[in-house]
């Protein structure tokens, strides 16, 4: 079993999610483009993927000026360039998503700039968590065999129950993550530590041979609220919750 877990929520880019970069020749816009489809979400939030948020920002910064590097460690983004630069965020949503509390003015030192806080779209829990799979088949009854409802299959989905434990110290961060979930953002649940992956976790999807893999999912439409349950002694500062999610396909 894993000793900790990580959840990365996806981001929706809109044309407003741009920021301006000044490398000494006047401010230039950097637009992230748009990401709408659910599978696009996951290429954008994958810590190891070439289309991750980190990589996307790095690419767009380098469209403006060469030399930018963007790294992400434990949900904190670091932007660096040997040339002095300044970044402003006209739209707060992208700034908050990246964990910066204000615009960036390194002052020409070329020093890396690290997120002030962990991205609210990244939650790293210190307690065990696991995913238990299941399936749902949507059917239509034909009713031709008396009360025995012979059914026809309409579609099927893969479900998971995510069983999490959260400490009181983590509650604030959890609330931020729950906010993304309840707004309908897909998210990636990672349950097995793997130091070889940039995310620090196993990023192969759960399958027959990878029972502790990651799950790309969103809340089941029936989930209208996320409630946690405080544990009893000796775990008085911990809470547990189970979340029903649908795998994104």
């Amino acid at each position: 079993m894993s000793s900790s877990f990580r959840i990365d929520a996806g981001i929706i880019y809109t044309p407003a999610d741009l920021f301006t970069v000044d490398v000494g020749g006047g401010a230039l816009d950097v637009s992230l483009g748009t990401s709408i489809g659910a599978t696009d979400y996951f290429s954008d939030i994958s810590a190891s993927g070439t289309s991750s948020v980190r990589n996307t920002i790095e690419d767009h910064l380098n469209d403006v000026a060469a030399g930018f590097t963007v790294t992400e460690v434990n949900g904190r983004y670091e932007i660096d360039n040997p040339v002095s630069f300044a970044i402003e965020f006209p739209n707060d949503s992208i700034r908050e998503f990246l964990g910066f509390s204000s615009a960036l003015y390194p002052g020409g030192f070329g020093a890396p700039v690290v997120s002030d806080v962990r991205s609210p779209a990244v939650f790293i829990g210190s307690r065990p968590a696991y995913a238990t799979p299941g399936f749902r088949w949507y059917t239509r009854r034909s009713g031709v065999t008396h009360t025995h409802g012979r059914s026809h299959l309409l579609s099927s989905r893969e479900l998971f129950d995510l069983s999490l434990r959260i400490t009181a110290d983590e509650l604030d961060d959890w609330r931020l993550m729950a906010d993304y979930m309840l707004r309908g953002h897909p998210f990636r649940f990672m349950q097995l530590e793997d130091g070889a992956d940039p995310s620090g976790f196993e990023t192969s999807a759960v399958s027959a041979t990878v029972p502790n893999g990651c799950v790309d999912c969103h809340l089941d439409p029936s989930v209208m609220a996320l409630g946690d349950e405080w544990l009893s002694a000796p775990l008085l500062d911990e809470m547990a919750l189970t979340i029903r999610v649908l795998k994104v396909t």
Binding site: G134, F135, T139, R150, S151, H152, A208
Partner: protein
């Protein structure tokens, strides 16, 4: 008597168009021939029931006891094995009748070729049959949850005791014309010590039931140290059908259970 519980899940078979399967025992001079006619409208509760009917037809035609079984474990899990009385055999799935329907059937049963000429015994079909699930562990339970009895078709309320009205209740209503529901609770145990393949095999089973010949399906459960199996044929009770794996306390990833309810009937084991 089996020491360990054994559970099999099999989809039903339904024939749309008549076709004939021919088996030639010991092809050549003096060969004997058996023809199994599968007629439009014929249905079998399970693959096992179909195999028993096929065995009986061969025994009746040529007086040779063929054995037809589904392999329940190992690399050939889910494949049909046909054992003759010792001679070679020729199998023609679409010997006569509707070839399209014959193709649908032999595809469902795990074959890819219409004719197998002069094959030796035992002969194993190349693929597992569709809509079959053969877990390594027997189910924790497969049993009647309760029994309900419905009023028969056309019975007039109060007609024999207290005539309340002269109104008629004899309009045909299928909800009233039934032998009664038998809710059956099934709790499967999955051996996931090696990997979770059994979990996804179960999903494939349900998909195959619907995408193949359709409901109903059968649960054949031989309890531990019992002499005979319980067999149930029926339909998934819920709609949508939602089946979540459940972890067993301290079983980690190695032991999962699956529970579902079906409406059906208890039938004789085949």
């Amino acid at each position: 008597m089996s020491l360990a519980a054994v559970t099999q899940l099999q989809g039903s078979l339904f024939c749309r168009e008549t076709f004939t399967i021919q088996v030639i025992d010991d092809p050549g001079p003096g060969q004997q021939t058996s023809n199994l006619v599968v007629s439009a409208g014929d249905s079998f509760r399970s693959v096992n029931e179909f195999l028993r009917a096929w065995e009986a037809q061969i025994l009746s035609d040529i007086s040779v006891a063929y054995s037809m079984t589904v392999i329940r474990a190992g690399a050939d899990k889910g494949k049909l094995r046909i054992t003759s009385g010792g001679e070679d055999m020729t199998i023609s799935w679409s010997f006569s009748g509707d070839a399209t329907e014959a193709t649908r059937w032999y595809g469902h049963l795990g074959d890819t070729t219409d004719v197998h000429a002069g094959v030796s015994s035992p002969f194993t079909l190349p693929n597992p049959h569709l809509a079959g699930f053969y877990p390594a562990l027997g189910a924790q339970s497969a049993r009647r949850a309760s029994t309900g009895v419905r009023r028969g078709h056309g019975v007039r309320l109060g007609s024999s005791v207290t005539q309340l009205t002269l109104g008629s209740w004899t309009q045909h209503d299928t909800m009233m014309d039934d032998q009664g529901d038998v809710p059956i609770d099934v709790r499967l145990a999955l051996d996931t010590r090696t990997d979770w393949s059994e979990l996804f095999e179960f999903r494939a089973f349900v998909d195959d039931v619907f995408n193949g010949m359709g409901e109903p399906f059968s649960v054949i459960h031989l309890p531990e140290s019992d002499l005979s199996a319980d067999a149930f044929t029926g339909f998934f009770q819920a709609s949508p059908i939602e089946i979540m794996a459940e972890r067993v306390q301290e079983g980690w990833n190695d032991y999962l259970t699956l529970s579902f309810a079906m409406d059906g009937t208890e039938v004789a084991e085949v």
